[in-house]
Amino acid sequence: MNEEKQALFEQYNRRTHTFGRIASVITLVLLLGVPFVIGGYLGAAPDLGAAASGFLAIGLVWFVSCIAEWLIYTPMLGAGGGYLAFITGNLINMKIPCAVNARDIVGVKAGTPENEIISTLSIATSSLVTILVLAIGVALLIPLQPLLQSPALAPAFDNVVPALFGAMAYKYFRKSLDIAVLPFLLMSLLFILVPSLIGSTSFMILPSGALAIGLAWLKYKKTGGAAA
């Protein structure tokens, strides 16, 4: 990349952080403020004591989970994609696989300007499509409800995530089987021996990912930085 383009990208990146931060702060204010606005309409105020004790009881777990997600996914998504993904949510079940798939389709590498652009395009498109689908769905909620909630279709919608990860597994395992086998076997064994962990699968991504990164590092060293 020549100097002119490098300067252009750096300027774009700086502004992305500025816009991302502004959008995040506005969203935070809106989300924390809206319960009070709704409270004004309903003639009730949030019980702050109950909210605080509730946060201590259930929120701390999610606090840790959110930090882990931020640490893991920010480098994957880059600046623009990262801000948008944390604003719009549904990371594990949608945004992350979507951005990784987009990156894979056009063959860009993490940490490059191309990845920053592609990741932002992917997350922004995904967010807009989700917003659109939900808006149409909510508008058609009454006529659609019997179809979407029909017992016949229930297994399909109960298995969106297995369908997603099954497809992604073929795509990624075939290229990196040596990295995938051990974490897959270990995770399966762990969930078999300690079934209570199944409810905390999102937390188990950390050890599984750490093991996979360790194996990728060994491979990287072995091949002199040419693979993985």
Binding site: N90, L121, I192, A212
Partner: protein
């Protein structure tokens, strides 16, 4: 007016719809900026259009799944609030859990319209926002420094991304392994260790999705049908979910 009617009132739709509109405009703004920057940086516009098309098709099916989450919560929290929560920050696997736990914390016993009160509802709303906002807080405060430290864009000069790219791919493989492992664990020990009486449907669905994906990859690589790649994930998911309907009848 019952609490559920109030929660489904035009006022609620306007308030929640306005915030969703704001998020949609932010997404559109980032999309246009990235596209223009990509063009200026010399990224092939055909590639960028492929990314947009692939991301749109990829998102369709999971979005319908998320819509089901809205429907599931609408019975107790009305439609506008779950619509907002699942459009902004929210996550399908998170919302129901937190809403239920929050209902217990505010003394409602369970998440249901019959026991819902105005105070209970707004406290649940606040708690749902408080619990999941931390990714956004951290990205606002620390992402710039974090990415700088990691050297995001640092590969721009050399064009060589180093181990970072391999690490990200490996992390994603780890994520997939954790989920696939949980399906196997659920089948083998979900109803008691080594009882083999849990649901095998997620394993079967993941397997079908893998097989269909293999077919897409074969078409793309061996039959030179590169265009199918953009639809490979959505197509694999659709057929795997259809298989769940068929297999669901015999499971």
């Amino acid at each position: 007016m019952s609490i559920l009617s109030q929660l489904n009132s035009p006022f609620m739709y306007i308030v929640c719809g306005a915030i969703i509109l704001f998020i949609a405009l932010v997404s559109l703004f980032f999309l246009i900026r990235a596209y223009r920057a990509g063009k200026a940086l010399g990224i092939d516009t055909t590639k960028m259009k492929r990314v947009i098309a692939a991301s749109a098709t990829f998102t369709l099916l999971p979005s319908v799944g998320i819509l089901l989450g809205v429907i599931a919560l609408s019975g107790s929290l009305g439609t506008p609030w779950p619509w907002l929560r699942l459009s902004v920050i929210g996550a399908l696997h998170y919302e129901t859990q937190v809403a239920t736990a929050a209902a217990e914390q505010v003394g409602l016993g369970s998440l249901s319209a019959s026991s819902m009160t105005a105070t209970g509802f707004v406290t649940i709303c606040l708690l749902m926002s408080l619990c999941i906002m931390w990714g956004m807080v951290f990205s606002t405060l620390f992402s710039k420094r974090y990415l700088k430290k990691l050297g995001s864009g640092g590969g721009a000069k050399s064009g060589v991304p180093g181990f970072g790219d391999s690490a990200m791919t490996a992390m994603f493989i780890g994520l997939i392994c954790a989920y696939l492992g949980s399906y196997i664990g659920g089948f083998v020990s979900g109803n008691g260790r080594f009882t083999f009486s849990g649901s095998w449907l997620p394993i079967a669905v993941a397997l079908v999705a893998s097989l269909v994906m293999a077919l897409f990859v074969w078409l793309s690589e061996k039959k030179q049908l590169a265009w199918v790649e953009s639809f490979s994930i959505a197509g694999s998911m659709l057929l795997a979910m259809a298989s769940a309907v068929l297999l669901g009848g015999i499971s």
